[in-house]
């Protein structure tokens, strides 16, 4: 399974678009979809974090998506809406990461205001960290955006087909 670092090495341009769109507002922002116990989809806003080599997300203990990801690790993540409807989307599996060093790295990458302690960030005890693997990625821009004859231009990556 590919990490963000593997993905970036294989498809640097696509990963750069992803990083730019996930961090377009400074802090990482996106919508994450998980699968509920009853098989239906769940959709939540979240603050994904990008280090040099990994994509992470902190999930508060009380969030129903924590149980979703522990039961079925498959996720999809979409960056917030961007200028001219540019889109970035990734999907893969979420793996729980409990070791202190990884949690510390992820907290520095996430830069979430409520995690700030003095001049650095600390992963709170009541938030569980997941690393998100990358199985598929999709970047979309629009030709003739907001004009007649607009059409999407897709750039895709699929780990299995690479």
């Amino acid at each position: 399974m590919a990490t963000w670092g593997d993905f970036k090495e294989t498809r640097p341009e696509l990963a750069a678009h992803g990083e730019r769109l996930i961090k377009q507002h400074g802090i990482g922002l996106g919508f994450i979809a998980t699968i509920r116990k009853d098989g239906g989809p769940r959709l939540h806003p979240c603050c994904p974090a990008l280090s040099d080599s990994a994509l992470y997300v902190f999930v508060v203990e009380t969030s129903p998506k924590l149980q979703d990801l522990l039961r079925d690790p498959r996720y999809a993540l979409h960056a917030f809406p961007a200028e001219q409807d540019e889109e970035f989307y990734v999907a893969g599996r979420a793996r729980r990461m409990d070791d202190d060093a990884t949690r510390y790295t992820a907290a520095q990458a996430a830069q979430i205001g409520s995690h700030r302690v003095g001049d650095h960030f600390e992963a709170p005890a009541d938030e569980v960290l997941f690393e998100l693997s990358i199985e598929r990625a999709l970047h979309t821009t629009w030709e003739n955006w907001a004009k007649p004859g607009t059409r999407p231009i897709y750039t895709k990556w699929n780990e299995e087909k690479d």
């Binding site: 507002h25 400074g26 802090i27 922002l29 919508f31 979809a33 998980t34 699968i35 098989g39 239906g40 989809p41 769940r42 959709l43 939540h44 806003p45 079925d72 498959r74 996720y75 999809a76 993540l77 979409h78 917030f80 809406p81 409807d85 889109e87 989307y89 999907a91």
Partner: protein
């Protein structure tokens, strides 16, 4: 599951918050995010433009979009309002902004009359032959608002 209309009859205030969060009259297109379930059981996310007609909530799956097949096969969906960016710089804006999420099942409602009526709710969207209209049933609703801190209103259909 309930129709949006039934939900609004039982919870008029919450439904009005949801309608306003999903649909603004002054915008040509109102975006939201839709999660569906792929054939292999994994989740998928797409931006969509939901709309209301005669008190019910509709969605249009355009062209060759894979969400159309997801909805035909499974029908389960979750829909979440997008958020404006103002709130990221301005705490007061964040407090005013409603986050609204609704989940349930989508059913094709592509008869000519419904199709035409739903098309007419969009100022600038003329449907092609591949566009398919779905009516969204409501299983669960969650509204996140602000009243001296975040507050949550939930509703589930019977």
């Amino acid at each position: 599951m309930a129709s949006w209309r039934e939900f609004a009859e039982q919870q008029p205030e919450l439904a009005e918050i949801g309608r306003k969060a999903l649909w603004h009259e002054d915008q040509a297109l109102n975006f939201a995010f839709l999660a569906t379930v792929r054939e292999d059981g994994t989740p998928r996310i797409h931006p969509v433009c939901p709309t209301f007609w005669e008190g019910d909530l509709y969605l249009v799956a355009e062209g060759k979009t894979p969400k159309k097949q997801d909805l035909y096969r499974n029908g389960r969906y979750a829909l979440h309002t997008t958020m404006s960016f103002k709130h990221l710089a301005d705490k007061e804006e964040e407090k005013k902004q409603a986050q609204f999420t609704v989940s349930g099942g989508a059913v094709e409602a592509n008869d000519p009359e419904t199709r035409k009526s739903v098309e007419n709710t969009y100022r600038e969207w003329k449907f092609g032959p591949d566009e398919v209209v779905f009516r969204l049933s409501i299983e669960r609703v969650l509204h996140t608002g602000w009243k001296d801190g975040y507050v949550w209103d939930k509703w589930s259909a019977g």
